[in-house]
């Protein structure tokens, strides 16, 4: 299992590549910086909130979606593990390596963008360090939930095309706060950023839901794979 996990992690890393990651991080940071600067000009007080809302509603899911797509080579999760699983290593161990690698890669792209964007939004105003720390924590939680969800979706439909479906459903249903919104990370992340509570859940409970979604979907994805 350890060899399978390590090999899965390295296989995922070899597919993502540092250069792609660096380009994505730079482009993401530039976009966040540009957004925050533009919003700050119009409304300095709402710039941080605006940046975080946009970042967590659109940026984070799209980054996780793209990274998981690259890790599984836009195929199904089972097929993506084949280069390593062919040697008799557990597909589940390999997929776990995929999940951790994709989660870390999402953070590598999102974290600098958030930090730079928030820096531009605050521009020396107090509150930057604490907001930045909270945002990075949310990014870690949200990335985990999205990566797990997309990996689970990669086990369904031909070539894991359910990934796109999950992205759309999260966008549509995650915009609300009703029971339909409850499984979708977007709704809970919005709640944690000060939006309406999902099904009257507290922010602490929403955090727990995100953690459960992250671990649960990843576990479910692994369980759907044959050894």
């Amino acid at each position: 299992m350890t060899l399978a996990f390590r090999s899965g992690f390295r296989l995922a890393a070899s597919r993502i590549t540092w250069s792609r990651l660096a380009v994505a991080a730079v482009l993401g940071s530039m976009a966040a910086f540009g957004w925050a600067t533009a919003v700050r000009r119009a409304s300095p007080l709402s710039a941080p909130d605006s940046l975080l809302s946009a970042g967590f509603a659109f940026g984070l899911p799209l980054v996780a979606y793209a990274i998981v797509g690259v890790v599984v080579e836009r195929a199904g999760l089972s097929a993506a593990t084949w280069p390593v699983a062919r040697f008799g290593l557990s597909r589940r161990g390999v997929a776990l390596g995929f999940g951790i690698a994709a989660w870390l890669a999402s953070l590598v792209v999102v974290a600098p963008a958030l930090a730079l964007g928030l820096g531009a939004a605050y521009r020396g105003s107090p509150g930057f360090p604490s907001d930045c720390a909270v945002a990075l924590g949310l990014a870690a939680l949200g990335s985990g939930a999205y990566v797990g969800g997309f990996l689970l979706a990669s086990t369904a439909m031909r070539r894991g095309r359910a990934r796109s479906l999950v992205l759309v459903l999260d966008f549509v249903f995650g915009a609300g706060t009703s029971v339909l919104a409850s499984p979708w990370p977007r709704a809970h992340l919005a709640s944690l950023l000060g939006g309406g509570p999902v099904m009257q859940l507290t922010q602490r409970q929403s955090s727990c839901v995100l953690a459960v979604v992250a671990v649960g979907t990843l576990g479910w994805a692994l369980a759907r794979l044959r050894r």
């Binding site: 060899l3 399978a4 090999s7 390295r10 296989l11 070899s14 195929a75 089972s78 097929a79 084949w82 280069p83 390593v84 699983a85 062919r86 040697f87 008799g88 290593l89 557990s90 597909r91 031909r158 070539r159 044959r226 050894r227």
Partner: protein, 324 residues
């Protein structure tokens, strides 16, 4: 056509159906339907085009693709479901998917997973060791996969898809020798599109056409390496007697390498049972005893050896002619 079991069969296909993902948008290039096959140690060839299902069959045997129906059983385990079973399969598949930055990385991973000796030296591929995987041509990558499969220390099954095509730097003679050496204790499935690749090498040959067995040794097919096949033609209107004989033979001919049965295409009242065994005399005695016990009328028993040219003419002729 159906193929019955074999004593001590290491690999069994039971009504196997499945497809590859080599077509556009990961669609199927070829698929197989309801294949029955049992084989033990030895070289067993399947002749057919990728669109006839050879590529799908290779992936199904190696555990790359899940069966859509039926199952693959390798020593009781299913390769797709069981990592331990996959660890004992060496395979050269249609699509090379090597993981690692360098060839040494690939070799290290294979050896960490399966153990085994240096795979490159026996085939004279030492020069690849220092290369990066991305620098390998398709032929070199296939040669590396071939070497990895052949160097497996204790394989339960070796699967080679077109081992003579697009494989760079491997001598044909060295490959034949290596295959024959491994075949003494390991079932080897050779999936090829040219019958000439296996005509003098394989012990049993099956022709795959549109996902089904169209011919096999002795049926409307041919005898492969050495005349170690007994072909029995029975009076049999519906194939029941032939099927029953094939099953009984699999229990009684202990050194059988393969047993198959088929309807005789040009005579609806007859069926053919073919036995490939090391001791043909012993097999013939068992066969006669079983025929007597089962009151089966035997039209002929023979050990045919069809000439290579005849075989080529058969396989190159339109499919309708091959199938009768």
């Amino acid at each position: 056509m159906s193929s019955a079991g074999q004593a001590q069969a290491a690999l069994s296909l039971l009504r196997l159906g499945g497809r590859d993902t080599l077509g556009p948008n990961a669609g199927a290039l070829g698929r197989v339907n309801g294949l029955d096959w049992s084989l033990g140690p030895g070289l067993h060839a399947v002749v057919g085009a990728p669109a006839d299902g050879t590529a799908a069959l290779a992936g199904l045997l190696a555990g790359e693709y899940p069966p859509e129906s039926g199952e693959v059983r390798l020593r009781g385990a299913r390769p797709f479901d069981d990592a331990t079973c996959r660890a004992r399969i060496g395979a050269l598949l249609p699509k090379t998917r090597l993981f690692g930055r360098t060839v040494s990385d690939v070799v290290s991973l294979a050896r960490a997973a399966n153990g085994g000796a240096d795979p490159l030296s026996p085939l004279g591929l030492e020069a690849l060791a220092a290369r990066t995987v991305s620098s390998l041509s398709v032929g070199e990558a296939r040669a590396l996969e071939l070497a990895l499969a052949l160097s497996h220390p204790e394989p339960w099954l070796l699967v080679f898809y077109e081992p003579w095509s697009l494989v760079a730097g491997v001598e044909t003679a060295a490959l034949r020798e290596a295959l024959l050496r491994r075949a003494t204790d390991t079932p080897i499935a050779l999936l090829v599109s040219a019958p000439s690749d296996v005509a003098t090498l394989a012990e049993t040959v099956h022709l795959l056409d549109a996902g089904r067995w169209a011919a096999a040794d002795g049926g409307r097919g041919w005898c492969a390496r050495a005349a170690r096949n007994l072909v029995l033609v029975l009076d049999d209107r519906d194939g029941v007697a032939a099927r029953g004989m094939a099953q009984a033979l699999s229990d009684h001919v202990l050194d059988a390498r393969a047993i198959s049965w088929s309807r005789l295409d040009d005579d609806p009242m007859a069926s053919v049972v073919t036995v490939a065994a090391n001791d043909l005399e012993a097999a013939a005695i068992v066969l006669v005893r079983l025929c007597a016990e089962r009151a089966v009328t035997v039209r002929s028993i023979s050990t045919p050896l069809i000439e290579r040219d005849t075989l080529l003419a058969m396989v190159r002729s339109p499919h309708a002619e091959v199938r009768g």
